[in-house]
């Protein structure tokens, strides 16, 4: 019975399966799971967020449509403006440092030395430890009273008074930047290392034979070939840093006096802390145009580099 059924199918394929022989249908079928997942968990919440930001919904109170009023209120909010400036500054500074240090580390790790595998594994540690956990450790290191950094500087005779790491607006910003760089460098280093390994050593050798110095070899051979990878890594990092939340939330809660608020932490404070869900949604959506612009510019650049 079973045998006849199988042979029947083999001899005479049912039309539904034949349809998959058409590449367009096959492509659609294979894409469907991803599309459904993206739609359900990315697109749907995003549109819900957009709708929410156009109402005056509070926690437990269904709101009515108010147009762009939330965005207007947010735009005139001095704390929001501080948060915008902070986010740009935070993202800009950390990205530059992460790229420079990550590249340097990647080039060092690309050489042959004993214990290479072990060192590469260790480099990844900051990236592997859950952010909240490592940030708590940093918080202790920057503690106003018990900072181990202060203690060390004091013992070495560099300072006579405690440095108020998280209590001074500029130092607080510097502190969270340092922690973000520490956490982000491994991602850059490992990704760029992967990029470096795709570059054929023969190119380097050929350049060396032609008399190129190490710096010239880097600038004219390595860097251009590494650029596409670099751009993708920077793109990911910028998006993540721009929307960073846990690091600031744990270290400073946005203080002192809003000096370290970012988009995400301020949106949380307004949406959850104050129950103004729609306004909180408006604040997080305000990130969107900036991020969109960054993504478009970088993607265009990557395309240009790739087609060159």
């Amino acid at each position: 019975m079973a045998v006849t059924a199988v042979s029947g199918v083999a001899n005479r394929p049912i039309p539904r399966l034949r349809r998959l022989e058409d590449e367009r249908w096959l492509a659609l079928t294979l894409l469907a799971p991803t599309a459904i997942l993206l739609g359900l968990f990315i697109a749907y919440p995003f549109f819900e967020g957009v709708l929410l930001s156009l109402t005056n919904t509070r926690v437990g109170i269904e709101g009515g449509f108010v147009g762009l009023k939330n965005f207007e209120k947010v735009w005139n909010d001095s704390i929001f403006r501080t948060a915008v400036w902070n986010t740009f500054w935070y993202t800009g500074v950390t990205t530059v440092f992460k790229l420079a240090l990550g590249l340097w580390l990647a080039i060092l790790l690309n050489r042959h030395f004993r214990g290479k595998a072990l060192v590469r594994a260790f480099i990844l540690l900051p990236f592997i430890i859950p952010t909240v956990l490592s940030t708590f450790a940093w918080k202790w290191m920057f503690d106003p009273t018990f900072s181990v950094i202060n203690w060390t500087l004091f013992q070495l005779g560099f300072i006579t008074k405690r440095i108020n790491w998280l209590g001074d607006p500029d130092l607080a910003m510097a502190s969270i930047i340092v922690v973000n760089i520490w956490r982000g460098v491994p991602f850059f280093a490992i990704s760029l290392l992967a990029g470096l390994q795709t570059i054929s050593p023969e190119l380097q050798e050929a350049a060396a034979i032609d008399g190129a110095r190490p710096w010239q070899r880097f600038w004219y051979v390595t860097w251009p070939l590494l650029l596409p990878v670099t751009m993708v890594v920077v793109l990911f990092s910028v998006i993540q840093t721009f929307a960073d939340f846990q690091l600031v939330y744990v270290m400073t809660g946005g203080g002192p006096a809003n000096a370290t608020h970012l988009f995400a932490t301020y949106a949380y404070q307004i949406g959850i802390g104050t129950g103004l869900l729609s306004e909180g949604a408006a604040i997080s959506l305000a990130m969107f145009p900036f991020l969109f612009l960054i993504v478009v510019v970088q993607l265009l650049y990557i395309r240009r580099v790739e087609t060159r």
Binding site: T145, F146, A257, G275
Partner: protein, 439 residues
Amino acid sequence: MAKTKRRSVLKLAGGTALGGMAGILATGRMPAFAQQRTVHWLKWVDFVPATDQMFRRELMPEAEKALGVKMNLETVNGNDLQPRITAAIQSGAGPDIIMAFNSFTHLYANSVVNVAAIAEEVGKREGGTFKYAQAICSDGKGMYMGMPWAVIGGMIAYRKSWFDDVGVTKFPETWQEYREAGKKLKAKGRPLGQTLGHTFGDAPGFSYPYLWSWGGKEVEADGKTVVLNSKETVESVKFMTGFWKDAHDEGGLAWDDTNNNRAFLSQTISATLNGASIYIESLRRPDQYKTEKGEFLNKDILHAPLPKGPAGQFGFHLLQSNMIMKYSRNQDAAKEFLKWLHQEANYRKFFESQKGFATPCTAKWENDPLWNVDPVMTPYKVAARLGQAIGNAGPPNAKAQEVLSKYIITDMYAKAVQGMPAEDAVKWADAELKKVYGT
């Protein structure tokens, strides 16, 4: 032959056996035998660990026996209550009873059940509910959004011997005296400690009463007209900047609610506004905390209320209440539980386990012998009576809560301490308040 419709069969079944299909459909409730009579109570992790232990070991099993329900007690960090409440309300599912801090009651008023009957009964029985608790838990028009639970009083914990050392044998009564004492203490490397950071308890617990004691207020009694930018407020900010430099540990700008505890226990500060947790911790582990002279630290700690200003003496303490959520399917059981919990014998178990950390919201408990057991804790007994709610002189409504959760009052002082001229800091805060109050 008569036709029998499916619906009429269901109806028949519903009529004969109460709780049949139609009955369930009509009432939206499960029949009694299948109904889960579980009451899920979400509260903070108590700063006095003995209390939560007592709840789990004694009160919850007793409640299950007395009420015939299954109790589910869940505890989370105080800072995590709000995200949980928001998620529960928005999804329409979650704990039946949730503990509220301060004006959460007003913020979530639309999503909770009126518990006026219980609150009024307990108030009547226990000599009246204090005004502070009434303002926070009710809307003044017969609706109680939360059942007043307790006040976690904020008092200044200070080192008696260190104050004695600089010639201050009685705790300062005014801000001016406190500043002078602090100046002498700071000169000896023993500054006062106070947070002006973004943290829920100690920061507003200091900045609001401080503002009020100078005569500053957020709004008029109408709850709309913002009047923060006043001569009194500016004076308070000016005094604060000097006070900070003269007497405070300047790390306080970054402290959260735990930093001052650690600083005090490790003897780097001489006084700080605090619930009684520093003292209780020093009692719990006496051998770990000793003074520089090798004596028990807990023998050198005393408590005092925040000093007086030109306009009087105030306190803003953490008031906790329990809200029964509207989405709950066990509202009746939840009400029964709260009623049972507030019976004197049961509430007393909680009260005594706290050893004075929590002050009840009704008058009767103020004269309880517990307050005489440890004189160091006695000052806390008036916390609920002297407390004042935020949004002064208006109601502690959702707007006032918005101002609080944006830390505007605290930041006003923080900005000035960081160098902004007092007038500008007040102007900034006043403008922010006007945006919140929509005026």
